[in-house]
Structures are given as structure tokens and as C-alpha cells.
Amino acid sequence: MALAVLIILGATGFSMFWGGRLAFQTFGLHFIVSADWDAVAHQFGALIPIYGTLVTAAISLIIGVPASFGIAFTLTETAPRWLRQPLSVAVELLASIPSIIYGMWGLFVFAPFMASVVEPWLNDHLANTPILSTLFTGPPIGIGMLTAGIILGIMIIPFISSVMWTVFNAVPPQLKESAIALGATRSEVMMKVTLPYTRNAVVGAIFLGLGRALGETMAVTFVLGNAHEFAKSLLMPGNSIAAVIANEFTEADSPIYTSSLIALGFLLFVVTFIVLAIARLFLYRLGRIEGARA
């Protein structure tokens, strides 16, 4: 029975590859670097979805990682003891909300908010700044890569922060106490004792969040806009691998179309597999060190 777990993973990878073979055969390596996505002409390239996936995941990390670190710091060092349990439950609540609800909320509430408040502000204030103006100005439609990235960022916070505060709490108190006895402030204890001690697990946690962000489907499908044109501005609609599959799979009307979508799935599978494997390796290394000590 346990082997079933292994078989499932192997079979998943193989079946994706098998389903996508037509696309890989037809387009070759061109599939990954081509930005064409034309269902009528049967030309498919994965560049736009890949780009969208990477950009939204990057935005989500920029938001999610500092926020998670802040929460973990608050929960382990500064929050009063009676508040820690309710706070951690509240943050974990974020993880239990189904992603479709994030998507609906994003579409009906957050995207209009972005369109009416945030994006006009960005347009007004960043129009003359060299690099930022390309990234953060554009038509304020609310639906786009920035919105999707922010929602992803919120979604991955509970995954990253719960690992962080678990390992921060597992740091031997003697280490922290020695630093405090030397006169270190709480922030210095965190930056110079706790963080170096738990570095591997923290990196693992970030990769875990990245894996989540790359593969998240429903939340981004709602707010990305399913656009197959390349856009420099983050306010423009884009696409991600998972969102293309969710949007178009049931509409795919030719074998090469279906196969291209499955090939995209295969790419996503391989990438998330690598990211998650790295995450686990970092986390396991910590576990092994602790095990050896105990």
C-alpha cells in the first residue's frame, strides 16, 4: 500500500509526459520559448504562461516571505503568551480557506479595489520613475498579474509562517538566553542567533511557499485575465500555467491543443517537484541534526 504513494507520483509524471508527447514532438524545444498561443492555427508556445507563473510567484514571495517572518517573530518573541495560540490559529485559518473562495473574493472585491484605489494611485505616483513606471503603470482594470501575485502572497503566508515559528520555537533556549545575557535585544537574538541556527528550515519554508504559489490554480484563474499577450506592465492581464489549463482544458477542440495543455501540466509538475524536493531536503536536514542531538 505504501508503494501506492510512489506509484502515484511516478504515474503522474509519466502520464503527463505521455499526454504531452504530441506537443513536445510537434514543437520541440520551441514549445518552451515560443509566445504563440493560437488555437485556430494550432500553434502553441508556453512562454507567456511560464512568464506569468514566474512573475506572480515572485510577487507572492516578495509579499509572503517578509510577512511570514514578521508573524513568526511576533509569535515567538514579542506577543504576550496568552495571545500566541489564538494568533497562530487565526493565521492557520488562512490556509484552510478553500482557494476558490480566495478567487471569488479576488474577482468581486479585491480586483475592483485594486482598479479603483491602488492602480490609479500607482499610475499617478510612479509615472515618472524610470523602471517602476514600466512595471506599475497601465490601465487600471484590477485584473492582472499584480493582483494575482498579491492574492498568492496572502495564500502562502500560513504555509511559510507556520514552519518558521515551529523551528524558531525549537531553538534551544540556552542559545537565546546566552545572547540575552550578553545584552542582545530581541531583534538581535532573532537576527544573529535564531535565524542562523534555523537557516536551512527557513529556506525550506520559502521553497515550500514557492511550490504552493507556482501550482495554485483557482485563485489566480479568477484574477489573471487569461491573456496570451506579453505585457511588460504588472497591471496588465497575464496567464499562468495552472490558469491556462483550468480555463481552456475543457474547451480544447483538437488533439494538439489538449496535448499542449497537458505538456504545460508536465512542465508545472516537473518544476514544482524540483522546488518541493529542495524544500523537503532543507527541512529534513534540520530534522536530522535535531534527531542526532536528541
Binding site: M1, A2, A4, V5, L6, I8, L9, A11, T12, S15, M16, G19, A67, S68, G70, I71, F73, T74, T78, L87, V91, L93, S96, I97, P98, I100, I101, Y102, G103, M104, W105, L107, V109, I154, I157, F159, T185, R186, S187, E188, G211, R212, L214, G215, E216, M218, F222, A242, A246, F249, T250, I262, G265, L268, F269, T272, F273, L276, A277, R280
Partner: protein, 280 residues
Amino acid sequence: MNLLILRRKLFDVVMIALSLGATAFTLFWLAWILWTTITQGASALRLTIFTQMTPPPGSDGGLLNAFFGSFMMVLLGVVVATPIGVLAAIYLAEYKRGTRVAAVIGFVNDILLSAPSIVIGLFIYELLVLPFGHFSGYAGGVALAMIMLPIVVRSSAVALELVPPETREAALALGLPRWKVTLSVIARAARPGIITGLLLGVARISGETAPLLFTALNNQYWNANLGAPMANIPVVIFQYAMSPYDNWHALAWAGAFIVMLFVLMLGIVTRVVFRQGARA
């Protein structure tokens, strides 16, 4: 010297403030999302949601067929994932603990735990939809089982490993065969943990949408046949929310509200069970 102390104090204060800010930032989103879902969902709730079928655009209706479909597929998922998951956990924790095999399978299981659910959907499509030529409730249920399986394996294995070795040794010392020790002593002691895992798994799969999109698809009508495409809450929410019709939006919010309520209640139940387990 004083300047240095000042700088260090300042750094400390700034960092504590920023961290508090990050926590408030996160709680703010949580409150916003919950608030939207509760207000929108509660205002869309009608009794007819539980008594009528999903409507065509513009007319009234409910979500009855979708609730039923979701229930059937989650049930199928649980029925498939539970025995495989628990047996796999017993194998890992009882018979192969500390070996390389257990490490590799545990590692793979952890990857599956956070693998993108849409990829699982594609896999089941290749496995159960393409060969049979049509979408079906079975495919949806199996896809959900695949999502649930790693959760069950992980939490059951942890629960089994937490059983004190003395319990196992005492039972073995009485001359019980290994299988009996595992089934009636270890598994019983680990039961709260295993049940926690099952509940967590159910909570996770009852909101899953991506793997159902192209396995169970959707169905406008009442359907109790698992062999045919089946309506289910998440996909109905997805389609209705993406549509331009106001009454469909209202139904989508009502569905989202009920799913969220269900998931949160499962979370509370899980905590209660877990607490009892910890005390016992």
C-alpha cells in the same frame, strides 16, 4: 558608544513594529475575506438553495444537485483514500520505521502533499476520463482521493509513531502476534490522530476545485449516477462566479459561504478531537 546603543534600540523597536505590522496585515486580509464571504453568502442564503436544482441563467434555483454531487465524490474520496492511507502509514511506521524505504516514501509523500492539485486533475483525466471517453463522478472522486491520500498517510504515520514503545512491547510480551498488536493496540491508541488526519483531509478536498474541473466536469441536472458527469459545489461556484448573471453570482456566494462554514466547522471539530487525543 551611546550612538551605537541608540541605533541598536532603534533597530529593535523598528523590527518589532514591522513584525506587528506584518501580523496585523495578515489578520486584516483574513478578516476581509471572511467578512465578504459571510455577508455576501448570508444575504444570498435561501431555503430553495437546498431544495432546487442549479438554474439556467435568469431564473431562480438552488444548489441541491451540486451538494449531492460533492457529497458523493467526497465520500468516494474518503472511502478510497482511508484504507490505502492508513495501511500505508502502518507499513511505514510499524514495519519499516527508520529504514531507507520509509524515508524515500515519506519524502515522496511530502511532495505529493503540496503538489499542485490541477496536475492531479490532469493525471486522473489521462487515467480515468480519456480511456472511457467521458467525464464521470468516479473520476472526480478518485481525483479527490489522490489529494487526500498524502494527508492521511502523513498524519496517521505521525500518530502511530507517537504511540509509546512500552505499549507495543507490553502487548508483544503478552504473546500477541504482530498483526494483532498493530491492529488492536497500536492503531487504537493512535486513533484520535488518525481521525484528525481524516477530518483534515475531508476539509481539504471539500473545497478543491482544480482536480474536478476536467474529471467530474459539471451537470445542470440531478444525477445520482457516478458514471456520468456530476455537478459539484466547487465547479458550480467557479462557473457561476465567472458568469455575468447576478443570480448566479448570488448562488456562487451562497455555495462559497456554506463550503467555508463546513471547512471551518471541521477545523473546530478536529481541534476538539485532537485535544481529547492529547489528553488520553
